[in-house]
Structure formats: C-alpha cells, structure tokens
C-alpha cells in the first residue's frame, strides 16, 4: 500500500527545528506550529486519500512537494482555488474546507515542500548523492546507444542545461521529461481535408487536438485517420534499455553542459 508519511512526533519536531533554521516561503513563515499541525491533520484525513499523508504522492494523486504551484510561493491564492474548485479533468474533486482549514492545509503542503529540500531531511536526494557517473562515457552514450543526439544538442536546446536543472530534478527530466515538448497530431478527415495541431486528448475512442488558433477539435477514432508524433515515446522506450551506469553516466555528462 502506498505509504509516504513521517511519524507525527518526528514531523512536529522537524517543523519546529526548521522554523529556526530555514528561510521559508512567506505562507509557511506566517504559519504557526499549531496551524501546521492542524493542516497536517486535515490533509491526512481529506487529501492523504490521493496525495499520501505527507503530500508526497499517493495511490492516485501526484507528489505535491514537486508541484510547480507549490514551488511558486506567490501562488497561494491559486493553490487555494485548486483545493476549493478541484481539477475535475484530472480527477480531483472540489473540497469544501473552511477558510481556516484551507489556510492550514496550504501552509502544511508548503512546509512539506521545504522539508524535502532541506539538507539531511529524511527521504531527501542530494546533488552529492548522484555524482557516481562518468561524464565521458555519458557523452558517448548520448551520441550513440542512447540516441539522445537525434533530438537534443549540447549547443542547442541543452546549452547551459546544468545551470537550469540540477540533481534529482535533472535525473528525472533526462529519464522522462513529462513537461517537455508535447505531442503533435495530423488528422485526415473523411472529406479529404487535414487538420494539424497539438495533441489535446487521446484514448481508444476519441482523438483531439488544439489547432494554431487555440481551437479544440475532437473526432471518434474510428471515423478519421490520424498520426501522432510524440517525442516522449523515445524516452519511454529507452527506459527498458538503460543500465544504471548508463543513467548515471548521462547525468554526469549533462551536468557538464553549463
């Protein structure tokens, strides 16, 4: 069973410790220990169902400590709106929490985020942990067996990459950049026309795209011919081919692209 939670006592201790030591995001700075404890309680009961009791991901919901919205300290109101209104398209329902509970939950999520990034915190992966690769072997893999050079270039899209991404974040992105370039689709209509655009939705029964004008179109998959070009397919395929050394070597090489 999915379980990513810390012992309540340890957690509270860490909260108090972090308060004294760390420069924290504004929302967390203003939160009292009591409020964080309250946020933890409400989160565990209401949100832990999907996101794990410690907000680090659960059976169906993502790790919130890695969420861009959580990372953006100025987006507190947006975060509140997501909790209040839900994200129905992604399966998240709206939550009817009191303002006080909502504030406490947001403070708790932010605090969890800080804890995962602080040196020595449990479950952390530090940049120093990931320095076992051979950059030269990684360069050869990048240009050879890894086929990375078919899409990426150290002087093009990857120029200065290591100044933008480090450590675990860089490792995750090299394996599967889920927020990278999106898929394109070309749909041939029965009438003879062709529509192109960014893939907006695809299941067994429906194909949809957003065209250059930002308009959404959808069709039944049985009634049109279509071709999807998804650059992420090569990443998914490579997962079955990497050795752990390959993975660490490519990371070491990418870290040289400053």
């Amino acid at each position: 069973m999915r379980k990513r939670v810390r012992n309540l006592t340890e957690s509270l201790g860490a909260v108090l410790l972090l308060y004294g030591l760390l420069a924290v995001a504004p929302a967390a700075q203003q939160a009292s220990p009591g409020q964080l404890q309250s946020g933890q309680r409400v989160f565990a009961a209401q949100c832990g169902f999907c996101h794990g009791r410690d907000a680090m991901g659960g059976e169906t919901g993502p790790d919130l400590t890695k969420s861009a919205l959580v990372r953006d300290a100025a987006a507190g109101e947006k975060l509140r709106a997501v909790v209040r209104d839900g994200r129905v398209d992604k399966g998240m329902p709206a939550f009817r929490l009191t303002d006080a509970d909502l504030t406490a939950v947001v403070a708790f999520i932010r605090d969890q985020k800080i804890k995962t990034e602080s040196p020595g915190a449990r479950r952390s992966v530090d940049v120093a942990d990931l320095q076992t690769g051979d950059a030269e072997a990684g360069r050869r893999y990048f240009n050879g067996a890894g086929r990375c050079a078919a899409c990426h270039s150290p002087s093009g899209d990857f120029a200065g990459l290591a100044t933008r991404l480090q450590g675990l974040q860089l490792l995750q992105r090299l394996l599967y950049p889920s927020n990278g370039r999106g898929a394109k689709v070309v749909v041939d209509l029965p009438s003879g026309g062709t529509v192109r655009g960014a893939l907006a939705y695809h299941d067994e029964f429906t194909i949809a795209l957003t065209d250059d004008d930002g308009r959404y179109h959808s069709w039944s998959t049985g009634q049109v011919k279509f071709k999807v070009d998804n650059p992420l397919e090569a990443h998914a395929e490579q997962l079955g081919k990497y050795t752990d050394d390959d993975m660490h070597n490519v990371l070491a090489y990418l870290q040289t692209l400053r």
Partner: protein, 518 residues
Amino acid sequence: MTTCTTFWRTCRRCVSGACLLAPFVFAALVVAQSGGDAWTTYHGDYTGQRHSGLAQIAPDNVHQITLTWAFATGQTAAIKATPILSNGIVYVTSPDHVWAIDARSGHQVWHYGYPANEGFHIGHRGVAVYKDSVFFTTPDAHLVALNANDGKVKWNVVVADAKKGYWSTNAPLLVRNHLLVGVAGDFDNLPGILTSVDPDTGQTQWVFYSTPPPGTPGSPSDGATGGQMWMTGTYDPQLNLVFVGTGNPTPVLNGPARQGDNRWTDSIVAINPDTGKLAWGFQATRHDTHDWDAAEVPVLVDAAFNGASTKMVMQASRNGYFYVLDRATGHSLLTKPFATANWATGIDQDGRPIPNPAKEPARDGRLVAPDESGGTNYRSPSFDPKTGLLIVSSHDAYGIYFFKPDHGAYGWAGADYGVFGKSALRAIDYRTGDIKWSHDLGEGASGAGVMTTESGLTFTGDTAGNVLALRTSDGATLWHAGIGRVGNSPITYQLDGRQYVLVAGGASLYAWALPEAR
C-alpha cells in the same frame, strides 16, 4: 431458493469442481426478502474468480445496454469499493460512509456516516453481510456492525490501535462464524495482523501475525515488521483454509536493516480459520525493498495442470510476476512475469524470483520496474473458467529508488519516484503463464478491477475514464461509456429476470442493463 438453484447450475458448468458456494448459503440467511442472483461478498464468492454465471448480457447484445440508474455519493472520495448485493439491496462504501441502495432503482434506503476521525482516509473496499448485519471497517481501525435494515449501529469494536499507525480499508471475509478483518499500517514499523471476530458479538477469536508480535524471541522475520493483510482473502471449504496476501516489510526501502527473506511479508499465507494457525506460506517477493505488497487476490481454481486435476491458488502479484501454487501444500507450479520486471536474476527452485542486489535502492538511485504502484495492485483480476485465462489490469512502469543511511530505519526509510508507466489488460493462460492477448488501457495505472461473465464478456476500465466491455476470447472492445475514472471492480447481479452490471466512475455508481421489453 431460486438463488441457490441458479448457482448450483452455474457450478456444474464451471471448470472448478468445488464452486465454494458458502457465501450464497449465508445470503439465504439474510432477511427473508427474495433478491435474485446476488453478489454477496467482496469477491462474489469464496474463489476470488470474480466470474459470474449470468449470461443475459452477451457479446452480441452488450452494445445495447443502457443506464438504468446512477447513484452519486456526493462525497469527494472516489468509490474504490466492490458493491455487495444482498436481498435486493446494494451496499457500497467510501471512507467513513456506507450506503444501502435499492438495486432496482438506485434509491437510497439508508446512509451511515462514521464520526469524524483522524484515521487515514486512503480508500475503502466494501462491507461484509451476515444475517441482518452489515460489517464496516473504519479509517481508525474499528469494526462497526450495522443493522442491515436501517443502518443503525449494533456494536463498534477496536481492531487495532490507530494511534500506533494502523488503519483499515478492508472488506471483511466471513467464514462460518469467523469474520476476518485486515488492517494496514506500514507508515510505521508495526507487526502485520489479521483478526478473527465473532460476527454476533464482536469478540476477538484469534489474531494471526504475519510478522512477529513485539517480544517474540529470536527473529523469524529477520528484524522486519509489516506484512499487513489489507485485502480480502479467499477460502477453500474442503481444505478449510483461508488464503490471504500479505504486504511489504518495514522499514520499506531500507534492506540492510533487515537482511534475510523477511517472512511472511509479501506472501500468500494459508490459515486455518478456526484456529488462526498458519498451514503454509509462499513468498512472492523475498526481502522486498520496493513496496511490492503481495496483497493481490489469491484466486482459487480447480482444473487440470500438466494433465492432473489440481487444486490451485494463483496470483498476479504487484512485483510483476504471476504465480500458480498447489493450494494444499503451497508448492510452486509456475512462476512467470506478466508485466515489465527488471529486478530479478532468475527463479529459484521454490518458484521465487531471485532479487538482484544491484536493484536494491541505493544512494545514487536505481532504475527499477515495476515502480512502487506495481505491475498490478488492489484492483481485482478475474478468472474465466472456459478459456483458462486470468485477466489482470497490468502496469508496465519504471521508478527510481534511493536509500542511504541518513534515511533511517523507520517507516518509509528511503525515497522513490515514479518515472513513466502505461497500462494494459492482460489475459494470462494459467497453464503456461503466456499472455494470450493484451489490450492497451492508456498511460498511467488504471484503478479498475476486472469481472468476467459466462457469456464471454470481460468488464473493466481504462486510465482515461471509460468503462469497457471486451470479448474474453480475444480482448476486442464491444462496448464502452465514458463515466470518469473507474476505481473499483465491476459486479453483476440479476433481479426480476434482468441482469445488471454495476461500475463506479469517480464518486458515483452506475447500473447498466439491456433495455426492458416494451
């Protein structure tokens, strides 16, 4: 006794000689109202096959089925429970909630709300029904007996200590006068427990420990705790054995803290329901360091294996391997992967995959398949006796796993991150472990279980929010409806001569049937 007659007829058609019909006998004991063909336990019967003898909805007419009713719980939590149909009433749950619904109309008969509590609200699998009682487990690890007629509380007992970190999502398994209740609790280093409760009084009859209780001399589990039995087991009345899957060891990712096999975590255990004593155990994953609970359904099948009539238990396990065992002895008959798995160097003489030490979580990370959510999970598979196929919602996925001494030896004790995965419904031939067909379900993991029917249909859900009806023989799609993410395992029943199929999409329950004759 229409119910029993129908099921005996079904039984004779099954490959399974002993169809393990005891739940339906209990159904006859529940209030006197005539219900029709029912689904009275979590798995529908003791075998865990989730195969229905009903055949009114068939491959040639399934495209005509229509929505007869929908029931919105109004809750934020999705339905992960298997509905129970008993005496014309559907019982369905989400954490803290039980609804009794008229199976003909979708009308709510009663609702029970458990008081607000700080237990873990991760999901709920459903109720058990016995005589005029409905049994419900709670996020703070209580067992509540409700009056089946009005939802009023009869009694409420503590099964495990929530303050220590236990909770329950479990649909209890009823075997005669034993109600077997499982709990979860592997955020903390706690022994795995399964409790037998007297369904009339709530008194504890026995407790089975999958890992040693505190104070046990020596260390038969090599220092591991965990092995929680949070899923509903299966039962063979002839052997008088209950089969239950046990969860992962704790600390979860820290292997060095518990060198050894860590029995009986990640195992199928066979237990005598009268005494709570272990008859045998089989470890699906020894020394697990990836959170691969073997809690998945141990499916009971009586059929030929290598030409000999055999009483088998089979499991598509979270570690990506499919197992067939002789259920009288626990000896391995077959072990073969059904989903992407890169963590084993081979299979040992006892049929257990041999863990590759290089794939244990490490400071610099290891790329491992399956990921933490597994090659499958709590979503139930279904066995189709006609074709000999175990049909399972599988997940090909990679994760990166980390452990360093700084992570400690309590609870999670490590870090892991899912990388990418996609799902497929796979039909495994139990005789060979070969995949007869595979039907893509989309990116990510589906929450939907599987149900097969005697007419040759397979019901499940994809990752995009469609409920699907496939042809069991080849996996071809025959019908679908977009109802939102299917988070439970479908069931079917027959009332007034009409077959219904029940599936949950999001927090609502949908009932489908063929149009009524005009």
